[in-house]
């Protein structure tokens, strides 16, 4: 039986995004979860399930259980592989809700990624295991450096330039500039600003890289049937999936046939469009996971919004602007709003369909949300109506 439109996001919550939250990730998670439950018209007593991202997180299910004084959790689960897990938590929640294993599922992400533990930081001294043993000894030690290898190959394969990367950044900062919640509110950039920003790891400049952010988001998933009876306007989950690729590692995967493509995202796209019974052309707004600018181009091609090598043109012809065919990352994304490991993209997708977004698109009925790239990934399609 298909999961198509049988579950819904009933509530969303979000703290402020900043460089220093001044409080614990647990405290922020609780704030976001309570806001999301209130948004849905539910109480903590209604929660019987938690699904969370497992990477770089020290909040355990029992911490939430204890602080919120939850009743018995019938179903809890963790999704691995960093930012690839964000929509994966929704997929797992849908599986739980549609199979009857859970009634009300809490998913969340809470990070003090700027003030406490930065993802790009590397450990000094000691041995390096797993796939990293092939890269760290050679000085390839951060996500920006790993992704630079893919980015350079993409530019070579399609004759793209760093200005094509810059246009991604300019669009995201444009959307953030009119979003008061965004860390880069009222701070738009020009292509010249991008080209003048310092190199990090060629072909990536500072303005090709996402922000470091403190903040939290939470999302409540329940059955479509129940969601219709609640206070919160539901966003129906039309499709939810995870996806993997060949010769997989975390963000490197350098042995696979073509590094100018994203196999995980292509796999997720195939399953997503099949389950949704939709095509890229049917999307009214899109929220694309954006850790570094090349990964936005690769995803737009993987999900079918452009042919291989064709994504840069979408930034030149206005397709991804607020008035364009597929308004993209309307909150400003990870480069403008803040880096919440893909969760803020889900929250923004729900707000767009409800008509309550800051940079509101005119009456969107469908939204694609994608998660982390170059890792086992995930994606969802949300709909305003369950038709």
């Amino acid at each position: 039986m298909s999961i198509r439109n049988r579950a819904a996001i009933a509530g969303v919550g979000q703290t402020e995004f900043s460089k220093d939250s001044g409080r614990s990730t647990l405290r922020m998670a609780l704030e976001a979860i309570l806001e999301a439950l209130d948004d849905a018209g539910l109480r903590p007593e209604d929660v019987d399930s938690i699904v969370k991202m497992s990477a770089n997180d020290d909040i355990y299910e029992i911490d939430l259980l204890r602080n919120l004084n939850l009743r018995n959790l019938r179903y809890f689960n963790e999704v691995p592989h960093g930012g690839g897990a964000a929509c994966g938590t929704i997929a797992s929640a849908v599986a739980a809700v549609t199979s009857g294993m859970a009634d009300v599922v809490v998913t969340f992400r809470s990070l003090n990624e700027r003030s406490e533990r930065r993802f790009g930081e590397t450990t000094v001294g000691g041995g390096v295991g797993h796939w990293r043993q092939y890269y760290f000894p050679h000085g390839l030690v951060t996500p920006a450096q790993w992704v630079a290898i893919h980015g350079q190959r993409y530019l070579h394969a399609y004759g793209a330039t760093t200005e094509d990367l810059g246009r991604v950044s300019v669009l995201l900062r444009k959307h953030a500039a009119t979003n008061p919640h965004a860390m880069m509110y009222a701070r738009p950039i020009t292509l010249e600003d991008h080209q003048n920003s310092r190199w990090i790891a060629e072909p990536l400049r500072l303005l090709d890289c996402c922000l470091d952010t403190d903040g939290a988001c939470a999302v409540i998933v329940t059955s479509a049937e129940k969601a219709k009876t609640l206070k919160g306007v539901p966003a129906y989950i039309t499709a939810a999936t995870q996806g993997t690729g060949s010769r997989a590692e975390m963000m490197t995967s350098y042995q696979r046939a073509d590094l100018g493509r994203l196999e995980e995202s292509e796999a997720a796209a195939r399953e997503l469009w099949r389950v949704a019974e939709m095509r890229p052309e049917d999307m009214d707004v899109i929220q694309i996971y954006d850790p570094f600018t090349p990964m936005v181009l690769l995803q737009l091609e993987a999900y079918g919004f452009a042919k291989p090598g064709g994504a840069p043109a979408l930034f030149r012809d206005g397709s991804l602007e607020l008035g364009g065919r597929w308004p993209m990352n309307t909150h400003g994304g990870h480069l403008g709003d803040g880096y919440l490991h893909g969760f803020s993209h889900i929250v923004e997708g729900v707000r767009q369909l409800r008509g309550t977004a800051v940079n509101q698109v005119i009456n969107p009925k469908t939204c694609l949300v994608t998660s982390g790239v170059g890792v086992p990934t995930s994606a969802i399609v949300l709909s305003k109506e369950a038709s």
Binding site: V124, G127, Q133, H150, P203, Q255
Partner: protein, 137 residues
């Protein structure tokens, strides 16, 4: 390399130890499947093509072409003073290897440039680097 700050070194395990021991002898060796001949990398117990556990170690020519690269200009680790260039080299045997470029300042290179392996010794692990073919390193 920066003096005094040790490089991150590979934590050898029961699968990868022979790979790293060979590098200490200045040999780049890959696993070649004894059943189907597939050369695999990274190191692993099973052939992903035919799922045979049987393999032999076979030495690479160390010759290949640059598949991609990055010039790291923002330093993130004390053992690696920026700038430095990291190559992804597609070797004649098939696997792609990450290693640093050793070339004179301003040397021309790019995707497709032919390179050959050289070796540098470090306290815990000898590591390969690449030099541009036909150029003095």
């Amino acid at each position: 390399m920066s003096e005094g700050v040790p490089l991150p070194y590979p934590a050898r395990d029961r699968d990868t130890t022979p790979f790293w021991e060979a590098q200490d002898r200045h040999e780049l060796c890959f696993q070649r499947c004894a059943q189907c001949g597939h050369v695999r990398y990274p190191v692993g117990p099973l052939c992903p093509e035919c799922r045979s556990f049987d393999f032999e170690w076979s030495q690479s020519s160390g010759k290949g072409v640059i598949y991609s690269y990055t010039v790291v200009r923002h330093q993130t680790h004390p053992a690696f003073p920026a700038p430095y260039t990291v190559l992804l080299v597609e070797l004649e045997e098939g696997p792609r290897l990450i290693a640093q470029l050793r070339a004179p300042e301003g040397a021309a290179f790019g995707v497709g440039t032919r390179v050959s392996i050289a070796w540098e010794d470090h306290p815990k692990q000898a590591l390969p680097v690449f030099a541009i073919d036909g150029a003095a390193p």
